[in-house]
Amino acid sequence: MSKTTTDDDTPKATDDQELGAAGSQLSTAPREDAPNLPSLGVIGWARWFWRQLTSMRVALLLLLLLSLGAIPGSLIPQTGIDETAVADFRERHDVLAPIYDKLGLFNVYSSVWFSAIYILLFVSLIGCIVPRTWQFVGQLRGRPPGAPRRLTRLPAHTTWRTEAEPEAVREAALALLKKRRFRAHAAGDAVAAEKGYLREVGNLLFHIALIVMLIAFGWGQLFKSEGNKLIVEGDGFANTLTQYDDFKSGNLFTNDDLVPFSFDVKEFTGTYERTGPNKGTPRTYQTEVTYAEGADGEEKTALIKVNEPLKIGDAKVYLVSHGYAPVVTVRDGKGEIVYQDAVPLLPLDSNVTSSGVVKVLDGYRNSEGKKEQLGFNAFFVPTFGGSATGTMLSQFPALDYPVLALSAYHGDLKADSGIPQSVYQMDKTKMKEFKDAEGELFKKLLMPGETMTLPDGAGSVTFEKDVKEWAGFQVVQESGEGWALGGAVAAIAGLAGSLFIQRRRVWVRAVRGDDGVTVVEMAGLGRSESAKVPEELGDLAGILYDQAPAPSDSTDTDTDPDTDTDPEAVPAEGAEK
């Protein structure tokens, strides 16, 4: 029962050269050759460049660059994310902004230099995967390399002497290793075995999955469409381009790609925290809709919530915003209704103080019977603080004490000037103010049901009791999502295989020593120094030892007992650290 305890070599002795072929190809990582300059010629240069690009070192640098390059986009406002923040920034920094513009810093993730980094990275990745795959296939076809000359030089090894015949030991070893699902074969006086190929499979799968994800992402961007639509309760929407308030799409999207469907908004419901420090914080937002697929599909009802879009074919309908739409009736001097509609107003703060415009474009004649247009600036609060506060700031987002403030104008809204107009703003250049008794702009606070009479018999405006709500929807159509998700799942699986599976080799050599007794040597080699390799080796050695035990009378290999080494100072004892 020999117990080898120390092996006093300098660690440097185990270099890769000594392992020779045995240590090679335990992974398919590209060889690191020193960046020597190529001999002349275009092809020489191209080859050199390609080798550099696909080296691990350059891949590493490109990865570093990618993470560095992503930083500015998180600190500088981006046009793709927050247009107004960018405009704001431009206003405040008239020196920096043009420089940023030149560098593409307002649009980092689609800028030339950022694209260059990731495209180079992915070219490098492909240039790395393809040869690695071939190499790996070659390794699978071949056999594990034979045992190195000196097994005691390997990171984990063990040895003992036995009475069993060397051939018997090798046979037993081969059987044992095969039973343990090693790929094993006898080569000369030793058995060579290898296991853990799934590590390489996982690693390749991971890197390929990265490419799949990138392509899916790019594909999605090209064919993506995204439109917004604000809908008041009771109104409807059909999915055609003209119905959208605004619409964006990828370069390869065509209008025929829009999924045909329509839906009506029945009711929006929002609830808010009533008490405590977070008073006013939204608790639920949901919209009840009825929808139909295709031109004349059957009608179904659905509930759209913030995290739960309605999915119709490839399209998803998200609830993204909400606000109030007071119903306003405008009558002319004769008492005839010239306008009656719910006017969607845009929220200004978290308590939904809202503003907007009421525009009466046609049908109105003034007291002199002349055609004119009317415009009202509208402020609305769902919960009024009381006239004592003197402000039109809402105190709470729910409709507890709604008040509408209107100021009145008449004249020409310039609606047919050809320039598209915002429905939330009024062009006042050709508008005149209605004046009150003091000669000031005519304005009033109205409670639901109240009417204000315009001066000089110009008519009246009624704030109807029924305040409607509106919901803003985003309709997104994206393809390639399935591929992206599939790639992501494959990436994680591959990564787990790559990081948790050990690829390792085991050699068992059994030869007859000078004295005629069989000497068994076993050694293990892993790609990274893992505790598992020696553990497993010990395990295998134990089993093999039971089949080929030491001679019971062996007293021959005695040694110098006066070793003074402190037992605790044995080099690299204990694999588990």
Binding site: D8, R57, L63, G73, L75, I81, T563, A575
Partner: protein, 377 residues
């Protein structure tokens, strides 16, 4: 129509439970402080002579010693037929030093060891208290306790200590982590109760999703494990510098000697942090993907380069760099270690920096009504 009749569906947060939670967190801090002092006591014992082993392993041997040491020592068990398995000899990897691990914080001293055990018991107690604190917080708000930075912080430190205790229970050699961990846990809880404290409250609609539970819980777990890995990396850098100095014949100060001799060898620390970081990297990948799926449901796009997304991505790429560096000649060792620290720095910035300094859709994590803007409301 909601009108004034809109009912307040949200259940009122149970203030009693919230109160209990606060008491538990403060008690946990008190016990962590006691544990901290016990760890200090552990470190204070142990004499220098007992721990100065790295030097003997690294300093060049005299010719006389060289002669005496045999190339191979084979011990014989007496002629009995005891079947003893052959012993596996392990040697250090190519190019690394053959240095034994230190004996641990107690420096081989019995009294020190006793204090160390007391410290661990106290850590277990504090962990249970903190765990109770997190749990009652969760019960008081009737949801997972990850709605704001205060909750995130208390969960984070509890998880980090949980990882440490789990490794201990698995008989891994990690006792040396104790002092560093309790110190930073105290810091983390201190920040939580002084600056980040938020009254217990429910979630805004955008956070109502089971992906929240998946995404945020794995994010916290990853952070805790990355943190343990980062402590390993820092200690590796110190120990490596120390070993380098000894190997080149230098004489480190007595304090450095006393502290660093107790720690595992640089190679072991390096391996430890690699394993820890590599083990969570797939989970971090999953965390980002889960976040993307959640964003797809909540905001209509699964990836939109929001600051939080950007920094998760940067963190991911930085850890990928570290893993690559370990497999790249010329980048192993200290360079890779710096990359690991950089990667953890990215993680930290993603948490504190982005939440506090950068505004984006994820701004719900801090106090207040940021969430309103966050979903466009």
């Amino acid at each position: 129509m909601t009108l004034a009749a809109a009912t307040d569906l949200a259940a009122a947060a149970n203030e009693n439970l919230a109160e209990i939670s606060n008491v538990l967190i403060y008690s946990a801090m008190a016990v962590y402080t006691l544990a901290f002092f016990a760890y200090i006591a552990e470190w204070s014992f142990g004499s220098r002579s007992k721990v100065a082993r790295t030097a003997s392993a690294l300093t060049p041997k005299t010719a006389a010693q060289e002669k005496k040491a045999p190339a191979v020592t084979v011990n014989q068990a007496g002629g009995t037929a005891v079947l003893e398995r052959p012993k596996v000899v392990v040697r250090a990897a190519t190019g690394s030093r053959d240095v034994p691990d230190g004996p641990g914080a107690h420096g081989g001293d019995e009294k020190g060891d006793l204090y160390g055990r007391i410290a661990i018991s106290l850590t277990v107690l504090a962990f249970l208290l903190a765990f109770g604190g997190v749990l009652t917080r969760a019960l008081s708000v009737e949801r997972a306790p990850w709605g704001n930075m205060y909750e995130f912080n208390i969960t984070f430190s509890t998880t980090a200590v949980g990882v440490y205790l789990l490794l201990l229970a698995l008989k891994k050699n990690v006792r040396w982590l104790g002092l560093f961990l309790t110190t930073s846990v105290l810091l983390d809880l201190g920040i939580a109760v002084t600056w980040l404290y938020t009254e217990s409250d429910q979630l805004v609609p955008a956070l109502h999703s089971y992906w929240l539970y998946i995404h945020v819980s794995t994010a916290i777990l990853c952070g805790a494990v990355f943190y343990v890995g980062a402590v390993g990396v820092i200690l590796y850098l110190f120990k490596d510098a120390y070993e380098n100095k000894l190997a080149s014949g230098g004489k480190p100060g007595s304090f450095a000697t006393s502290v660093l001799e107790r720690l595992p060898a640089a190679a072991s620390l390096d391996k430890f942090s690699y394993r820890v970081n590599a083990a969570v990297f797939p989970l971090w990948t999953f965390t980002i993907i889960a976040g993307a799926i959640w964003a797809g449901d909540a905001w209509g796009r699964y990836w939109g380069w929001d600051p939080k997304e950007v920094w998760s991505f940067i963190t991911w790429v930085a850890y990928a760099c570290y893993l690559h560096a370990r497999a790249t000649a010329g980048w192993k060792g200290r360079k890779a270690a710096y990359l690991a620290l950089l990667a953890f720095g990215c993680w930290l910035f993603n948490y504190y920096g982005v939440n506090i300094f950068v505004s984006g859709k994820h701004s719900y994590a801090d106090v207040g009504l940021g969430a309103l803007q966050s979903v466009g409301f």
